[in-house]
Amino acid sequence: MKTLAPKSSSLTNMYWLVKREFWENRGGFLWAPVITGGVFLLLNLMGIITAEVLGARHGIHFGASGELSNVMSRMDAGDMSKVGMVLDVAMYSSMALITVVLGFVVFFYCLGALYDDRRDRSILFWKSLPISDTGTVLSKVLSATVLAPAIAVVVGLVAGMAQLLMVAITLSFHGVNVWQLLMQAHPFRVMGNLLGYIPVYVLWALPSAGWLLLCSAWARSKPFLWAVALPVATGLLITWFGIMGLFNLPSTWFWKEIVLRGLFSVFPGGSFTANTGSGHALVINDGDGLDVMNLGQSWAAMTTANLWIGVAIGIGLIVGAIWFRRWRDDS
């Protein structure tokens, strides 16, 4: 017997399977958020330059006479915390754009994850290796719901801090102390809040990811069409015949809880609608600043039935996707 590579465990297998997904989807997972962040920064820079130019042309020299720094020095602690709040929001705002892009990336990733390799027949290579279909599908769920958002958060934070720096440096030209300002921001809290949101996102996105993966594993062609057309056509039928009336529910319930929830839960932030729906209104507490993303808020979704019913359905859909991955024989 020759010496062989050490026996691999299922954990290292999973690591390499997720790594494989990253290799294949570097464009969506990494470059899409990076480019979005870059564009966001560029837009900000252009905005600042425009403001400076316009300001100079119209003779508005705010800060030159020390007015702005005077304003700053007259602020009390409460006012300063509001400055911090504004800066935090500025950091989140870079995240917002990336988040939208992330939603699209995850949506189309899930639709292609179990379909593209059947179409180009490379599934035959993957299936020639001792990888279970369960492992394959779960690695795709992990990549979509954990890896992609984690990368997006990191990129978003870097972009957010760069933006913060950009604004601060501009203000410093107008006589405002940069560091005094920046100290008011809470980059670590922002980072913690965003990373801490990922578990909620995983659970909330599960029915959507499951549905898209199921379509991806099942469709013989055009998974996008099936994934979207099936719920929409059902919704139209239900609206037309007023079927939801039988359950004493309006047709809009179906559109909101099945069609929208099923298709678009991979877009981050959706779970906040569950909070408001169940009476947990967004609380903007003056004392804490506008810390809407705080974990208390985002984790409130964990207490809703909506989330857990979705998780159960999502698991069912993923089991279906695994079954089709195992037995779909068309390549």
Binding site: L4, A5, K127, I131
Partner: protein
């Protein structure tokens, strides 16, 4: 005898057609089996059944395992190259080696790297930048570095030029095959592999119509070349095929005594492709 694959009553139906119709066969260890058949005869279905890629009826045991239920375990012992160009286009040589090295418990990285050194492939090259021949070189290097007991090749050299095709089989024979390994290969380029086969299986319309060792085939089937004057005498012995080359008649006999044929003219062992053509007469008619 140490059977690697045992099939009995193996059937697979697609809608109305039978891709495999109650097929039974045994493949012992240490063999190179050519599974030859016309398009749509059921070759690929048979291979897919062995690899657990498709459900089927009947009994099938691959190294004692049922491919339907033990597939993950089975794939540690079985490798396959299905067609050329099934490697994903985005894959880099380096990543491919890395991935298989960590996923496959029986992969020998040093061997794979040594095999790759013999090619023009570079670690940073992506599959989409390779020619078909290079893709197969990469795939073969990965597969040959895996110490598997069964290797399944489904048209592995389709679309390759003759240099790559020769090299492919030469590599397999010289650096891979031994008495513990078994290879099942399907191809339409029969002439190129007939000298390496130990066993021959013809499949037609989902049925095995011929299953023989190559040596036994040379005993059973005899080709006879006679001049026009003796053609009728040869025909009386009921050949299974007849053709004419340069005014001489060539007959193919199944199970006729060699001595009787030698009395009529020159005899020789038929080529697999001639035997194939004779056996499959009327397939597409």
């Amino acid at each position: 005898m140490n059977a690697v694959v045992t099939a009995s009553g193996l059937s697979k139906h697609y809608k109305n057609t039978a891709a495999l119709d109650n097929v039974s066969f045994t493949i012992p260890s240490g063999r190179i089996v050519g599974l030859i058949g016309p398009n749509g005869a059921g070759k690929t279905t048979a291979l897919k059944a062995i690899l657990g890629l498709t459900p089927f009826d009947g009994q099938l045991s691959v190294m004692g395992m049922d491919p339907r239920t033990d597939r993950n375990k089975l794939m540690e012992q079985v490798c396959f190259i299905a067609d050329v160009a099934v490697l994903p286009r985005w894959l880099k040589v380096r990543d491919a080696v890395d991935f298989v090295a960590h996923i496959h418990p029986r992969f020998d990285r040093a061997k794979c790297e040594a095999l790759l050194k013999r090619t023009k492939l570079t670690p940073d090259q992506r599959v989409k930048q390779m020619s078909k021949g290079m893709i197969v070189q990469l795939h073969l290097a990965l597969v040959m570095a895996i110490d598997a007991r069964l290797l399944v090749l489904d048209e592995p050299t389709l679309g390759l030029d003759i240099l790559y095709r020769k090299q492919f089989y030469q590599n397999l024979l010289e650096d891979y095959f031994d008495e513990d390994k078994t290879i099942i290969v399907t191809t339409h380029q029969v002439e190129e592999i007939e000298h390496i086969l130990t066993d021959l299986m013809f499949i037609r319309d989902g049925k095995i119509v011929l299953n023989t060792e190559m040596e036994a085939m040379g005993e059973r089937f005899i080709e006879l070349m006679v001049g026009a004057d003796r053609a009728d005498a040869a025909r009386a012995l009921r050949p299974i095929d007849e053709r004419t080359v340069f005014g001489k008649s060539i007959f193919l006999f199944d199970g006729v005594e060699r001595a009787r044929l030698e009395a009529l003219g020159e005899t020789r062992r038929p080529s697999v492709s001639d035997l194939f053509v004779a056996t499959m007469k009327g397939t597409y008619a």
